[in-house]
Symmetry: C2
């Protein structure tokens, strides 16, 4: 049996209940650690579930910043330095990743707090997370202010990518499951995945086939 929630019922929810509810409705989300430095070289690490693909040509990735303090160090560092890393979260590090959402002072690095290792390589200006299996470096391109709810979209271009060799498909597909990348739902629920199938490119009047 489905329960129906009218607009009024949603608006009458207690604030934190609505946050859980609406966050869940969006479905499963990517969840990654975003690594930055400030102008003085102080590292910062934050967990984000608002990262999404917007196009492959050019290779762009976007994320949403909410108007809340813990995300502000990351945003400030991106705007100051122009660079950041995105690091997939796996089953071994999701608790440490979750802990980065606590409101630490700006002079504290979440790398130190969690014990996750900053990894600087190939002269990229932001730290990767050594324990992450899929890592990529991004250059800031554009900020779009979303006035309807005071959030900020940041768009960046993917400049460097590190992927385990055994997770790379011939057609460019990356087997995230094999890389132990996890997904999240709502504010705080973490999930591993079990592949059902990969399906062929859909065309009218053509049967789908498995390409897994």
């Amino acid at each position: 049996m489905k329960k129906h929630f009218s607009f009024e019922a949603i608006m009458n929810m207690e604030k934190q209940e609505r946050v859980h509810f609406i966050n869940s409705l969006g479905g499963f989300k990517s969840v990654s650690l975003l690594g930055t430095v400030n102008k003085q070289g102080q590292t910062n690490l934050g967990i984000f579930s608002s990262i999404f693909h917007i196009g492959a040509n050019p290779s762009l990735i976007a994320l949403i910043f909410r108007p809340s303090p813990p995300e502000r160090d990351t945003l400030r560092n991106i705007l100051e330095t122009g660079y950041y890393t995105i690091n997939h979260i796996n089953e071994n590090i999701y608790q440490q990743a979750h802990q980065t959402s606590a409101r630490y002072d700006s002079d504290i690095s979440e790398f130190d707090i969690t014990g996750l290792q900053p990894e600087f390589k190939n002269n990229f200006k932001a730290p990767f997370v050594a324990e992450s299996n899929i890592q990529f470096g991004v250059e800031f391109k554009e900020r779009i202010d979303i006035s309807i709810n005071n959030t900020i979209m940041v768009i960046g271009e993917i400049k460097e990518v590190y992927v385990p060799e055994n997770c790379l498909g011939e057609d460019g597909f990356i087997n995230l499951e094999k890389a132990n990348t996890i997904t999240c739902s709502g504010l705080d629920s973490y999930h591993k995945t079990v592949q059902l199938d990969r399906l062929s490119y859909a065309k009218p009047d053509k049967e789908l086939t498995s390409i897994a």
Copy 2:
């Protein structure tokens, strides 16, 4: 062993390879069916993996439209009528859902093609997918043109929600896994999930606990 891809290596990929590769990097994504009608009442159904949460107060959801033909019916209908439904995909309907990505003519309804049932209820102006366990109705609020890659972001407000009663948590959390909602990666890979844990709200100097 990780393989390193420089910016040049990424740009030198064959176009379709880069599409798979960059799409995969974004991590696991929500995947849903978007139901609309045009001014004449002709139904349309399309699969989207670019839907994301942007805020709970007001209750907003966004999605990205790429500049490709199959998505155009959905976008036109949203702008014409102002309403659409978002319907979570489960293990029983993901092949039918995938088939909606084929380029059918505008006068063909993907409901008819796939056999998925349109469900009109509570006077909402767009059709839900009867086979979907989590459904919600959305009102168009704002269009933002993203000039950097010629995509369009559409923001809507959540007006009605239908969720199985046994998937509702006391704190507002919706158990997507119990509702059989699935996730996707890349362009064509579908996955069910296995919950690792729900973690308590993170605070400095406080141990995380399981709230699953």
